[in-house]
């Protein structure tokens, strides 16, 4: 087990009846003027927008709005949000939505505190932001990303479609109000994408290279197993509060970094997935489903991952860990997902070339161009 530091300061306010917890939390925050960040339609459709503005109105807390956040928010959206916050003296940022909205709100809170609208200026100089982010809160309306409970966020660079990951202790939300009922209006394909994302976070952290993280591995493996054996319940999401609640909490825990304690996680799957998404207009969940089976098959053939592959295969009652790829392909069908679009040879070659140039990543993940190609090839063979 490697040395580590861990905390989870975000106050999780959980449940369909947790509105009173949110009220108390709002009363304890130093809030005078709020910037609400949200998407296009869902926050109004699921009731979260009305709930939040109702609470703010009742307290006489002023707010202004920055709606229209899309999936994979970019520099332009967060720059405009920071501009609004600076022009109006905002002192608290409140995200209403899922991963994209929360990530955008984190970027806005950090930019505004540092009195800039340009996220790349700081990134290019490889400096940290000097000032800690404005305090922020989250009203969660989807599952999947777990970003409500950590300081990480991903912003897309409009110029070349690259997704760039940031991380700061100061962008950890003060609170995250997680109400499973807000997810009732999510369409089936989004539910499946979210479920894939939770699984991906658990699997990535499970497949680290450190030995002797026994207690952490044991609980990750059980969380994976819990999700996989309940996947068919996705079909009746709307009707089962218990399943929605357990999935939402599993999602939050899965990127709280609790499951990275004592480990160095190379995040191979997500790095490949981001490289794919830069080349194709495809959801994060769908791109995970393209890459994940090949990654699992590749893992099962590497001695460094042999024990964990076998343990996962045993847990899923597979006779052999090489069947993991096929198992997950079948599992995606259980989620009601559309068949994944195959990678072309040209796409694979582009991805390998681009990722091979990232020597930091290759060293961290202990892989080479042939490994990358092997991962990307497998799904073709299986189909």
């Amino acid at each position: 087990m490697l040395d580590f530091a861990f905390s989870m300061p975000t106050r999780i306010l959980f449940g369909s009846g947790a509105r009173s917890l949110l009220e108390r939390e709002l009363d304890e925050q130093p809030v005078a003027k709020v910037l609400l960040v949200y998407g296009r339609e869902s926050a109004r459709a699921n009731g979260s927008y009305d709930d939040v503005t109702g609470l703010l109105d009742a307290r006489g807390i002023a707010y202004l709005e920055h709606p229209g956040c899309r999936e994979d928010p970019d520099d332009a959206f967060v720059g405009a949000g920071a501009g609004l916050a600076l022009d109006h003296g905002v002192d608290f940022v409140l995200a209403i939505g899922g991963g994209s909205v929360i990530d955008a709100a984190k970027a806005i809170a950090l930019l505004a505190a540092n009195r800039t609208r340009d996220i790349w200026a700081v990134h290019a100089a490889r400096q940290g932001f000097a000032a800690p982010a404005l305090p922020l809160g989250v009203v969660l309306t989807t599952t999947g990303t777990g970003t409500e409970v950590n300081g990480s966020f991903v912003i897309r660079r409009r110029a070349d479609n690259e997704k760039i990951a940031f991380s700061s202790l100061s962008t950890r939300p003060r609170f995250a109000y997680c109400n499973p009922d807000y997810t009732i209006t999510l369409p089936p394909q989004v539910l499946a994408d979210n479920y894939t994302d939770i699984l991906s976070h658990l699997l990535e952290q499970y497949f680290s290279m450190e030995d002797s993280t026994g207690i952490v591995d044991a609980i990750i493996l059980e969380a994976i197993h819990y999700l996989l054996r309940n996947t068919p319940a996705l079909q009746t999401w709307k009707d089962s509060y218990g399943f929605r609640a357990n999935t939402m909490f599993a999602s939050t825990l899965s990127l709280s970094y609790l499951f990275s304690c004592g480990k160095k996680v190379p995040w191979i799957l997500h790095t490949l997935t981001h490289a794919l998404a830069a080349r194709r207009p495809i959801s994060h969940g769908a791109s995970l489903r393209v890459v994940m089976p090949g990654w699992l098959v590749w893992l099962s053939g590497k001695p460094a991952y042999a024990t964990r592959s076998r343990q996962l295969a045993d847990k899923l009652a597979l006779s052999d860990s090489s069947q993991l790829g096929r198992y997950f392909l079948d599992h995606f069908a259980l989620m009601g997902c559309d068949p994944h679009p195959l990678l072309s040879d040209a796409e694979k070659a582009q991805m390998v070339t681009r990722l091979s140039a990232d020597t930091d990543f290759l060293a961290r993940a202990n892989l080479d161009a042939r490994d990358l190609r092997c991962i990307l090839d497998w799904t073709h063979h299986a189909c």
Copy 2:
């Protein structure tokens, strides 16, 4: 799943090489004068005292000392500590030790902030303390209690030997430096007591009465199973860093209240154990071993706990959940524990009378005097 609020703000600094993390943490705290709280010999024997005072000296941070904390610290000890803190203008309390030392430090931090030495004055009035506790940190030298990561503490009332539980958000430590190497000098009986305590916390939270806390139950059950299958390794504690580290982290997680999320936990086992300890000079671990088997047998016969009892029995490959009591008795022998001292009829009668008067507890736990007697009787039958 019940609505809940959860956070884990204590920064866990974990590992034998995590000294640099502790240094950074000390540099970030607003510390001018520290009160060190520790026990009698172990902090000097395991090196933690020298490590901490070395870091404080190197930073020119003044400190004074309140040594001599015993197991189950009482009102006199914490009152004297609060007096020291008040007389010398202490602004930070640092505990070096295990559960008793940390609990005492929490009480001292809360008393000093409220400018009093009398913990019962506030308790008797059933008021909360008005001022939040002085900030406090922890250097952990045992496993078992998990108190390093929550706001709860237990203080013994010297007048009648009762243990009284307190809880405050403000007594959650700012940081907990958890170095598995500090535990090397613990004697075998203390290791066994700690291990019993970790198991007891997991089992108590597992056996709540709420349905549909699936993800939480799954990971608790796996943590229990992890400990039970590794128990024989207690014999070679000193030689296995990995086992020490995993056990220490399991201990921290087990009372972080992560495993109580979505549940109402009646804490039956601990309530009985405290009642026993008030009557006998017996360690917390030993008293848990006296009561736990009967509690498990009683649980297995109650319909409300039938599903969870069966799942635990399945996980342990027992044919029937009524065997759980016998299994744990055998398991205690594996830990190298001395045979537990049996309860006399007089003791049992006293405990039942006393606990039956606590109508809050009976209602919360949904049990009556006959249940209490049943739990206390079983161990006799098995021997």
